[in-house]
């Protein structure tokens, strides 16, 4: 049974002999009996090697195709190999050959049948040279991880150590202080987190509306497919709202919907049991709804939850029930969780602020010390210079001049002052 070409794993390679007239001039000269000079011998060797390589490539291609055919004959399934430039000419660096592939296969017929150089050659060569320099940017990623150990840079390990330690030991700068201040002052954005968002629409209602809208959209799509000309209903959402309200009404109809627990207890207390039909234990207040439909609704009490709240409030005002401020909130698990998280956030922020302030103070102090150290360095310089002048003078067997001596003494005294200041500053902090 014939196999479809698109399932065929064979490459059906286009084969041929290398055009030596174009590629191998020294070889061609030899073929044409023009002999070879000794200087050309090396070039001839390289040409022969290239020729050999092309034949080997061709041979490999045939062998590959043959092995696929043998497998097909045995009835084995051979997957179609991925088309990749590497497979085509057994080259590893796909950049250049893939461009050549595109050029050549794009030009198809004309290229193959004409002996002259195809128009694609020059551009592809230019592309090659451009390609060569692109990968430079790839490599630095490889470089740093392979940091050197042996020659030529000697003792690089110590440099690396100091570079690493530097981030911990370096001087604090003004920018660092500014950063700390910013960090302390910034968390005003958290104020949003502390607000308790109002209760939204209950999710059942929202989902019901969304489901209804989706179904309407589906319906509209089908309708539009069949009959063009049906306008999209702009009052879509209104329609769904109305539907839902009806559902709502039906679902929450006070005739049969359960009333809140407080309400139930109150009514149970107020209404004598004998009035209710005997088999009503489980139905409770609902029985009323059954016998007199519409009665409760007509009382205009509103929904069950709001009724519950009003009753509770009334009872608390009358002093019948204890006012439990926390009660209501506790019933809402989500709200309590929210409150808990907020308090945690507050605590953490406060802690952060204290720590940052502490850091800031330390940084400010160390900045002061940094200045002192700088001045100390300068003073040291002066002392060293003074020493040098005196030493030079002594070398020349001259007693140093009074001026030099004065400079030296002054430098020394200044330095001592700074050192004392520095000590004081350090002692304050340690």
């Amino acid at each position: 049974d014939p196999m479809d070409l698109k399932d065929c794993p064979l490459g059906l390679p286009v084969v041929g002999s290398l055009d030596h007239a174009r590629s191998l001039p020294r070889y061609t000269a030899l073929v044409n009996n023009e002999g070879v000079s000794m200087e050309e011998l090396d070039g001839l060797q390289l040409e022969l090697e290239l020729l050999l390589s092309s034949v080997l490539v061709r041979q490999m291609a045939f062998n590959n195709q043959l092995s696929i055919i043998y497998q097909l004959e045995k009835g084995k399934y051979v997957p179609k190999p991925a088309v990749s430039p590497g497979k085509k000419m057994k080259r590893e660096e796909g950049d250049r050959p893939s461009k050549k592939m595109k050029d050549s296969s794009g030009k198809s017929r004309e290229v193959l049948s004409s002996p002259g150089p195809p128009p694609g050659v020059k551009p592809s060569k230019v592309k090659c040279s451009v390609q060569k320099y692109e990968p430079v940017f790839d490599v630095p990623d490889l470089g740093p991880p392979e940091q050197p150990k042996p020659p030529p840079p000697k003792n690089d390990i110590t440099n690396r150590f100091w570079a690493y330690v530097e981030q911990y030991c370096q001087e604090i700068t003004v920018e660092d202080i500014k950063m700390l201040e910013d960090m302390i002052n910034s968390p005003s954005e958290d104020s949003d987190y502390f607000k308790t968002p109002p209760l939204g629409r209950h999710y059942t209602l929202r989902w019901a509306q969304e489901d209804l809208q989706d179904e309407q959209k589906e319906g509209m799509k089908l309708a539009e497919g069949k009959k063009k000309g049906i306008k999209g209903d702009p009052s879509n959402s209104d329609l769904s709202d109305k539907l839902l309200k009806e559902v709502d009404m039906n679902g929450c109809s006070d005739d049969v919907a359960p009333l809140g627990p407080l309400t139930q207890r109150l009514i149970a207390g107020l209404v004598e049991e004998n009035v209710l039909v005997s088999d009503i234990e489980n139905k409770g207040v609902d029985g009323l709804g059954h016998t007199r439909p519409g009665m409760i609704k007509s009382l205009g009490l509103g929904s069950a939850s709001s009724l519950e709240k009003r009753i509770k409030k009334e009872l608390q005002e009358q002093g019948v029930m204890e006012t439990d401020y926390g009660n209501e909130d506790d019933e809402d698990e989500i709200l309590s969780e929210l409150r808990r998280c907020q308090s945690e956030l507050r605590a953490v922020s406060a802690h952060n602020v204290t720590q940052l302030t502490r850091l800031l103070n330390l940084a400010r102090e160390s900045l002061v010390r940094h200045d002192l150290k700088k001045r100390l360095r300068d003073a040291d310089q002066k002392v060293v210079e003074a020493y040098r002048t005196i030493a030079a003078a002594r070398q020349k067997k001259k007693t140093p001049s009074k001026k030099d001596k004065d400079i030296a003494w002054k430098a020394l005294k200044d330095r001592e002052v700074i050192v004392r200041q520095l000590d004081l500053a350090s002692n304050n902090n340690c």
């Binding site: 014939p2 196999m3 070409l5 698109k6 065929c8 064979l10 059906l12 286009v14 084969v15 041929g16 002999s17 290398l18 030596h20 174009r22 590629s23 070889y27 030899l30 009996n33 011998l41 090396d42 070039g43 060797q45 390289l46 022969l48 090697e49 020729l51 050999l52 390589s53 034949v55 080997l56 490539v57 061709r58 041979q59 291609a61 045939f62 195709q65 043998y70 088309v83 000419m89 080259r91 590893e92 660096e93 050959p97 050549k100 050549s104 296969s105 198809s108 290229v111 193959l112 002996p115 195809p118 050659v121 060569k132 990968p135 430079v136 470089g143 050197p148 042996p150 020659p151 030529p152």
Partner: protein
Amino acid sequence: MGKGKDKNLGSPKRSVDSPKSPKMRGSESSPSFRRDQVLRLDPLPPISVTPYPLSTSTEMAMAMSSEAQALQDRVKVLSDLVRELQKARDDNIPHMNSINALSDKIVNEEKLTVSNRTKLKMMYEKAVGDAEKEVALVKKALATVYQIRNIRHELRIQAKNSGNKETIRRGALMKMLLNCAQTLPLWIGNTGEKPPPLCGAVPPEQNYVAKVNDMVACLVRGSEGEDNWILAEVVSYNTTTNKYEVDDIDEEQKERHTLSRRRVYPLPLMRANPEVNPEALYPKGSIVMALYPQTTCFYKAVINRLPTLTTEEYEVLFEDPTYADGFSPPLMVAQRYVIQIKEVSKKK
């Protein structure tokens, strides 16, 4: 304005105007089927070899030698071999054309029938045999080239020893190094054979000892105490002490070093063919030691591009702290002068 219907409608495009020419016929592949392109369409890049620097006096001495006649004989043999090779290649072309024609037919039919598959199989098998014959002939031609080169090498040594002692100047040394790298023999194995040690990137065997006159890279201590990997030639190997005696290739140094085996690494003896044995090349991105161009020292480098043809070199980036990104711009180094990075523990 319509020219009417597209006249190709209903039939695949055919190369209606191609007569039976010995050149390759067009491959009208249906857009969905991509065929492998094994035949190289563009000409190979031109080969330029750095000539081996010979002074005129040496040349003359060589020409006048008694061996000169042997050279001419070899050249004649080479010439005959090449012609025989070309004839074999010409003979194989019609068969390759018929393979292409059958492939075209299959592509046009858009399916592979069992009979076509069998036909293809037989054609491929014949083609493999043809290719083997070509390979054998090319190998013979190459062998003759090597013979000629060996004779010339002998002549050169004779000329040198007979009083033509000139120290090689640096410029000539560099040319010699380049020529040597370019003409290093290419390893050619039989189908499926693995490249041997010291072919391209294949490492030497564990207990390999470099032979006399082989080129090696060795780690020597300079005058200021710094270690460098330099290019050198083996003078001798002492089996009792297990140490090499090497000569710095730069004769100006005139230094003979005695080094332990750990400090000597042999250079590859053969080039690897990137088209057939890519596994014998250093992969892109690998760290190697490479000879810095125009010097005789090896430095740490990273492979940026591999050679794609036997005549091509590696493109490497040398580690260089003087550049912003830590690496030199890409430089070309021949296969012969790229070796494995060797960490030598110092100071035993």
